[in-house]
Symmetry: C2
């Protein structure tokens, strides 16, 4: 099963974990100054070594991926929106069937490796990332600097080139009005906390991404340790808020009303669905809603997204058609055996 | 089965029909000037003849009825709110098991007979009322006047002493905004149209009562004919509005969202429930909602009412307890085989 449909540690609050490494190949011009010729050489070089990397990774030229599939990968956070919209046509992606390893080629750097897991699992992800990283370094030879570490196109990534992040679901902190306090605390610890599609995006359905600011002057272990520490605090606060709310009949009523609307509406926008799912996930995590499994909730989140919805039904749909089709798909998922 | 759980002619729009006769007994002081002694004589007189009337009618002294049962009868429109609140303690009611015949003793008049049916059925009700009326007249001898007809406590009832009414459900006319036009038309034909608990009450859940203004100078047949005519027009208009609305996906969405909330809320006030039921009944009548039968919808309407809810669960509940218990009862009714 794909990682994003699974259930991991602390997954009542932590939806998923991700570790990303930014790398570049020695003796090749960095993005975005690279020429078309050189960029194609990078592609070819990586295509050639793909079988040697292992992990079931397959090389896919971005030109061979249709737009809906591209956006569906963005919705799963497997590739970046910028990469999907890439107009220079020199992009490729290495990906395995489980989709828990994704390596974007010629995104902001020559290599952007990401590993994913459901729940809170940064330690294992870091180990996996480093393991793959060493293989790639042996095969490709990275650009690095004795003092600064790995060199990257953007100076904010120099050093470890590592960004670790977790996606957290914080509906109770939102309901109790304590969310802003938490956001400030996380920021004051040198972490970013922001909407789920990265920088500058708003939270949707009470989901936030916590990630490290700093890539230089810290070891990989420090970065993971810091994020784990702050995430544990956020989990604790969110759970306390849930415990507080769970005492009131109103919470039960709210989550079940959301479930009722989700189950019976026949026209539903993606945004409304996200708001409803936030309550429904909370209700399921708290054991209030017994009609759903965690895996169904994860599926509902996934196929609510416009492109994944179209992948699910196997055809292109405009916005209006999606709002009509979405409730049908939701009912199918809810009623799955 | 009790009439209010059944389904009659045109019951997509007409919930129920009622014919009421106001009568007084010759040589007894009229209400409210009657003395306690005389009032008790009226009670005794009627108690004595009850077996001779037939129809399975039983004599019940209002003093022997607990408050919740009284209010539950009001909610079913079987007795008037004023009668239930009657403080003078000289009231009684003759009622049969089906509850389609109810005779209030010492309400506004010595005798207030009501006969009920689901759907549009005024002609049959009138015949039944007259049949019972003749029996009563033979047994009791009514106060009447050669010129004016039956004499009543309030001059507005003099003459036939008859009021015929239908309860109509007009959600589509409300949604399309044409309801006020219809209310004006009904009024201009010399009919009353008003909220479901009679004069001065507001519509709840888009349910209105249409009844005749006039009791004097018209025959019983004229009254029934007039109400039938105007009701047919209202039915026609409501059905046209439904046909118009049914074309849009939004109606389906609205009725199913209401059904979703009704099915899953865990805290629900009577007023909100009435609003939801209005959509749910519309959806069921239009064949959009297939999960419910007409009889279940009628049951939901009945047991939403505070006193009938308490009768259903068999114990006294305060307002907060009712709002918690109501959703449980709703789920039971929805899931009944």
């Amino acid at each position: 099963m794909n990682w994003y449909l699974q259930n991991g540690k602390d997954s009542d609050v932590v939806i998923s974990s991700r570790v990303r490494l930014a790398r570049n190949i020695e003796n090749y011009t960095f993005m975005p100054k690279i020429s078309e010729e050189e960029a194609n050489k990078v592609l070819q070089k990586i295509k050639d070594i793909t079988p040697s990397i292992g992990y079931g990774l397959k090389f896919i030229n971005l030109n061979d991926v249709d737009d809906i599939t591209k956006v569906s990968l963005v919705e799963k956070h497997i590739i970046s929106p910028e990469f999907a919209a890439n107009k220079n046509k020199w992009g490729a992606i290495l990906i395995n069937d489980e989709e828990n390893i994704s390596i974007m080629i010629n995104e902001e750097d020559h290599i952007r490796m990401q590993v994913f897991s459901s729940g809170l699992d940064l330690e294992n992800l870091k180990n996996l990332a480093i393991e793959i990283d060493e293989k790639l370094d042996n095969l490709l030879h990275y650009a690095s600097h004795e003092k600064y570490g790995y060199l990257t196109a953007c100076p904010t990534n120099v050093g470890t080139g590592m960004r670790a992040s977790v996606m957290v679901h914080l509906p109770a902190l939102t309901m109790t009005g304590n969310i802003n306090k938490i956001l400030n605390i996380v920021n004051s610890f040198g972490m970013n906390i922001r909407g789920i599609y990265g920088e500058g995006t708003q939270s949707q359905g009470d989901i936030y991404q916590i990630s490290n600011n700093q890539t230089l002057g810290l070891t990989e272990n420090d970065i993971i340790k810091n994020i784990n520490t702050i995430t544990e605090k956020v989990i604790q606060q969110e759970r306390m808020a849930r415990k507080y709310l769970a005492k009131s009949i109103d919470l039960e009523d709210r989550v079940y009303r959301a479930y009722g609307t989700l189950s019976f509406a026949t026209k539903l926008s993606s945004d409304e669905c996200k708001r409803l799912l936030s309550y429904v996930k909370l209700g399921t995590d708290l054991g209030i809603i017994k009609e759903l499994t965690d895996s169904k909730v994860a599926k509902l989140y996934l196929y609510n997204n416009p492109a994944n919805l179209q992948k699910y039904v196997g055809k292109e749909l405009d916005g209006y058609e999606r709002d009509i089709k979405r409730p049908e798909v939701i009912k199918q998922i809810i009623n799955e055996k």
